[in-house]
Symmetry: C2
Subunit: 338 residues, 2 copies
């Protein structure tokens, strides 16, 4: 099976599609809903408040230190639901495969997705596979969408309408790891202290925080465009000032070094396992304590605050005492980061 | 704006992405849920039984007589939910765009999606846009997923477990239109009596049938692989015989003619606006009457029945009295049909 390749007919809806689905997808994603093989997944949810999201993944390369496109597709959608305050439950999964893709590569990706789904306690309940002619896509693109249920008390976290001056800004760990890992993988940079993507499902750590605190006013995962873009959007939307302290923002030494070499700013580098929270000042230390007990939060830090100065702007105070404005970039430092 | 092209930075998550989203997607898809610009759409559903589905669309060419890839993406997901007995409510939409795609082409596609969503009474509530380098995808790929609500009485339609010998097989109109339209578009075949894709949202006609009949035992939209593939799957799954009568199956003359020229069988040609129903014998005529009142059902016909002969097989009785077996194809007569 190792040299087998994906053919156009694997996506054509006939026998070969059925074999691919049953031998690969049903085998790895197996659950009682999928097993019924209905045209749509039939679900029974316990509450009528839902969160619903989608993302397509086109990352290049499809395998990188710390993950692959499949892990990214599961974590990304789990995280989008989680930062809305929802408990992720069900995922859909649409594959677009390039003719000639190695079956063995697809199998690794599908296996990783299945493992990550188990870890994140979500079920992949519906899917679709298309194959396009060689040269018409880049190996594999994956779309995931997801449904999560929302508890009454978390219904307003998405909106961030309660953010006020004095609130603290928290991040659960070092920034820029994913973007830098992709940068290295793409340029075949290998060295002893190589950067690993932070790609991870954040629903565990987020639910631990929400269990002990009712003072989380807003969350967002800092993916494409990094921490800077999340905060620029937020300050603009709510017309608040955001002041960051550079020395408080956790950045791994190897990430900082590589960013310097390439002329990139870690603030704008993509993350795939980082959540930014805006929390009430008096609960910030407590939330940091809770985060640090989780592997994904051991470098959690308070990195700044909401102010009434520089409304609608993000500023950062540097180590030597200067202040610079953090602006939203027109594009991304690195395309196809996720 | 007409010569403007999509650039890599339109999918990078920065300012250009934001402009594209607000000027194009929010403008056309506008609704109160989308307008909140939350990371996930926040939904409130009226029942706890849901149907959930996804499909990716890679049709080539992206514009064809009767529709385009965007119309297909909305109708396809609406139809997948509808044949599960659900009322489609919410759609997600993930775009993968090729660098260099004309802005004006994207705008036509998005506008068509918005119009079809209004027609089908669904809301596009969450989305995502990625751009890949030129040559790494074929103009545009779209993924849609969808959520529908299920009434108690329709909860079992997906499974088809009540199908029994004597049940009738119904289709709402002529078969093979979409596949043949794509075939013509791809080969630049133009003539006076050209074939138009049947691409349409079927939730209206299906709900009209379900409103008057509790005897619909199974439904499926006959897309990739056509009517033959749907019925082969069904007969195999339930180990029942399916007997079709060739002369009863509605096929447009131009479709029949083109299929003959190309050596294709209309039974296997894709449809994008055709539902196959298995219904109780005594209610079949009634359902046909209801269907024919709807524009999408004016050629509705009873085309065969469930039998206890040839279990697990589909057979068709030809005009001259012979019988042939309808087998599932290994692949598709035409790749990238949807």
């Amino acid at each position: 099976m190792t040299n087998e390749k994906i053919l156009l007919n694997h996506g054509a809806g006939g026998k070969m599609t059925h074999d691919l689905i049953s031998k690969l997808f049903f085998n790895y994603f197996d659950n009682e809903i999928l097993r019924k093989q209905t045209d749509s997944a039939i679900l029974h949810v316990s509450t009528s408040d839902l969160a619903y999201t989608t993302d397509s993944y086109v990352v290049d390369p499809i395998f990188f230190p710390g993950g692959n496109i499949g892990k990214l597709a599961v974590c990304g959608t789990v995280n989008d639901l989680s930062v809305s305050g929802a408990k992720p439950l069900y995922l859909s999964c649409g594959f677009i495969l390039e003719e000639g893709l190695l079956f063995s590569d697809l199998e690794i990706i599908v296996k990783t997705m299945a493992e990550e789904a188990i870890k994140a306690k979500v079920k992949i309940v519906t899917g679709d596979t298309k194959v396009v002619d060689k040269g018409k896509c880049d190996k594999i693109f994956i779309n995931t969408s997801g449904i999560g249920i929302l508890q009454e008390k978390n219904k307003n976290i998405s909106f961030g309408n309660n953010i006020q001056v004095g609130d603290k800004i928290i991040v659960n760990g070092t920034i820029g790891d994913h973007g830098t890992a992709i940068l290295c993988a793409r340029n075949s940079i290998e060295y002893s202290n190589s950067v690993i993507s932070d790609c991870a499902s954040l629903n565990g750590i987020i639910s631990e925080v929400l269990a002990v605190s009712e003072n989380v006013k807003f969350m967002r995962d800092a993916t494409r465009g990094g921490l800077a873009t999340v905060l620029c959007e937020l300050s603009e939307k709510h017309n608040k000032g955001i002041e960051l302290v550079e020395d408080l923002i956790p950045v791994q030494e190897n990430v900082r070094g590589l960013c310097e070499v390439f002329g990139f700013d870690p603030l704008y580098m993509a993350n795939e396992g980082k959540v930014v929270m805006i929390v009430a000042e008096n609960d910030a230390e407590n939330i940091i304590r809770v985060m640090r007990k989780n592997t994904l939060g051991k470098n959690a830090a308070i990195i700044g605050k909401i102010t009434d100065r520089n409304k609608g702007m993000v500023t950062v105070t540097t180590g030597i005492g200067g202040t610079r404005i953090v602006d939203m970039l027109a594009g991304e430092q690195l395309p196809r980061i996720c």
